[in-house]
Structures are given as structure tokens and as C-alpha cells.
Amino acid sequence: MKPSGVLMITGGIVLVMILAVSMFSPGGGAETADRAAVAERDSTACIASKEYMRSHHMKLLDQWRHDAVREGDRIHETPDGRTFEKSLNTCLSCHSQNRFFCVMCHQYANVEPTCWNCHLLPTETKE
């Protein structure tokens, strides 16, 4: 093999190694603690469309739970740039206007989510 060929192959291998290393560089994991102060609570518009929330609220809440409890990431950003705290209380700050908001539909759909074993239903607290 010619010396120039050896050089080319070595160069290629080095470049691939650099690429491989770059793939394992640790992600930032920035703390979001100070951003929580700016998170909205009361808003006239929901974080997503009514249709999406009707069909996907359980998935969204499951994701929120994971992010907030396990990752400490408590800020939800909507596509239009509004921020909300990832908390069931964020939902309830509007949706407890109707104290039976969650219950009505769950009863109709005959589902029994375990949320309310610990989280306080609006019906359970005196206003």
C-alpha cells in the first residue's frame, strides 16, 4: 500500500472516532429552578386544544409527572411560547371552577384513575 493511502485511512478512522466521541458528550441537564417563578398559572386559554386534551390529557399528565418528579423539569412550554408549571394544580387552577370537571367524564367513561388517592379533588376541599 502506498504511504498516502495509509495516511488517508488513518485520517478517516480518526475522524470517525471524533464523531463517536461527540455522540457520548453529556447533555447539559440545566436546572430549571429559577424559571419556575415565571410559569403561568391562570390563563384564559388551555395549554392545548380541547380535542387534544380530551383524548390525550392522560398521556400529557403522565409525561408531566415524569418530568416534574423524576427530572425536576417543571416548565411546560406551549408551541405558541406560553409557559406553565407542570403540575396538576396548573390544570385545577382553571378547571376546578367546575368542581365536578374531572369526575363527570371519568364517571361517564367508567374509568377510575388513581390520581385522587393522593391529589386533592376540588370536591374534597372546602372553598
Partner: protein, 258 residues
């Protein structure tokens, strides 16, 4: 140009390698970023938050329970009124119960009778998280040993593992034993273990923990142990402090001035 099969494959290979290498070159920042070894070990290191607490037992008044009340009210901690079912996040112990392995022979009688505020130590090397089979209790990146009540199966291994008795089990439904709900915080249910969370929900809003805020004697200092400029680090470097059962190697994040 004459080209046999071997020559063609070799050139094609070199071309592919060069192409991938060029891609790496387009992203040079991440390519040569220094690897942060702390991300691999999970051990506390400078540069990352590690929340800690310093309790001055000299300015902590005997008989005062304001921090306990504030904490338990903020976190919907039930009060069953008896020792067997007791659930506690923060409480007061006698000196020799808090520091059972420190010498008590010929000690100042005042010290032996002193009440010491005790809570979860949020250890840097927590034994409880190792014992938990579901990772319901785990160490957060900011040093807080957190509980994920959604995952707790109530096996109580963590209670056996904790050398400080910082964990309580809900033998009964806690809801009837809560006098007044804090609507901002959930309750627990029967069959889960609970403990102090260093007020992570308040820290997220930029507030100090409830016990720190409610202390009338300003006996509790809270801050980042990994920040050399923080008040807590300055206080720790200026005076002699103690940790509970340091010989166990759990590296508690709660320090005491005796």
C-alpha cells in the same frame, strides 16, 4: 484507468470514512467537548447544586415546634396522635438520640438535655435509594433524595436502610388525620413511605424551605453546598460543625452547630 475490485472497495471505504469525518467536523463544539466525569459517577462534585442545611442547635429553642408545624401543614403530613402510626418529616430528638455515636461521658448536662432538630439528611451516598426495589426513592441532580409516591409499593426496605429513622410509613389512610389541607400539595395514601423532600416544590419557586422560613430564632441556614460562595459554605468553614453518624459514610447534607 485500470481498476480491480480490491482497489475499488478500498477507495470507496476511504470515501465513506472521509464523509463521516466531515460530518463530525461540521459540529466541532460537541466533537471535542470535555467529558464531565461527574455525569458518570453521580457523586457530588463542585459546579453542580447540592442543597444542604445547617442547624444551629444553640439558637433552636427547647419546646418550640414552629418549624415542625409549618412543615407538616405545608406537606399535608397526618397527625395520628400516637407513636405507632406516627408520620413525621421533621422532628426533635434528644442529643444522644440524634448523635448516638458521639461521646457523652462527662458532657455538659445542658447539652445532653438539649433538643436537636432532625430530618432527612439528604445524604450524598443515600442507603435508602439503594434499597428501594422500584426506584421510588432516588437522588435528584440537585442532591435532594426524593420520593416518587407514584412508584412506592410500601415494602419499607428504605426504612430499614435509613440509619436516621427519617422515614415514616402510612399504616392508615392519612387523610382523616390531616386537620387542614394545603391545596397546593398532595396527600399520601395508605401503604406508602414518606419523608422530608427539602421543600423541592418551594425551591422550584425560588422560596426557602418551610422550616427555614418559619424558624423564629433563625437557627436554620439553607443553601448550595457546592457553591463555595454561599452563606452555608461560609458558615461551615468558619465554625466547627457535626453530621449525624458520619462514620457510616452516608455524607449527610444536614450539618449541626452544637
Amino acid at each position: 484507468m485500470k481498476q480491480d475490485r480490491r482497489e475499488f472497495l478500498r477507495k470507496a471505504g476511504i470515501g465513506a470514512l472521509a464523509g463521516i469525518g466531515a460530518l463530525a467536523g461540521l459540529n466541532p463544539l460537541s466533537a471535542l467537548e470535555k467529558t464531565d466525569m461527574s455525569a458518570l459517577s453521580g457523586k457530588p462534585v463542585p459546579g453542580r447544586t447540592r442543597w444542604g442545611m445547617l442547624i444551629d442547635t444553640r439558637s433552636c429553642t427547647d419546646g418550640c415546634r414552629q418549624c415542625v408545624t409549618a412543615c407538616h401543614r405545608a406537606h399535608n403530613v397526618p397527625d395520628f396522635g400516637d407513636r405507632k402510626n406516627e408520620v413525621k418529616w421533621i422532628w426533635k430528638s434528644r442529643y444522644e438520640q440524634a448523635f448516638p455515636t458521639s461521646g457523652t461521658q462527662f458532657q455538659k448536662p445542658e447539652l445532653l438535655g438539649r433538643e436537636v432538630l432532625t430530618l432527612c439528611n439528604h445524604c450524598a451516598e443515600p442507603p435508602c435509594t439503594r434499597a428501594c426495589p422500584t426506584q421510588a426513592t432516588f437522588k435528584r441532580r440537585d442532591g435532594i433524595v426524593a420520593m416518587d409516591y407514584h412508584r412506592c409499593i410500601g415494602c419499607r426496605f428504605c426504612m430499614a436502610a435509613c440509619p436516621y429513622g427519617s422515614r415514616s410509613f402510612n399504616w392508615l389512610d392519612p387523610r382523616p388525620a390531616i386537620s387542614e389541607y394545603n391545596r397546593e400539595f398532595p396527600t399520601r395514601e395508605r401503604g406508602v413511605v414518606e419523608k422530608c423532600n427539602f421543600c423541592s416544590e418551594r425551591l422550584a419557586r425560588g422560596l426557602q424551605p418551610a422550616c427555614v422560613e418559619s424558624c423564629p430564632g433563625k437557627a436554620i441556614t439553607f443553601g448550595d453546598l457546592n457553591d463555595p460562595g454561599s452563606t452555608i459554605r461560609r458558615m461551615l468553614s468558619e465554625q466547627e460543625t457535626m453530621q449525624r453518624k458520619p462514620e457510616l459514610g452516608t455524607l449527610p447534607s444536614v450539618f449541626y452547630i452544637i
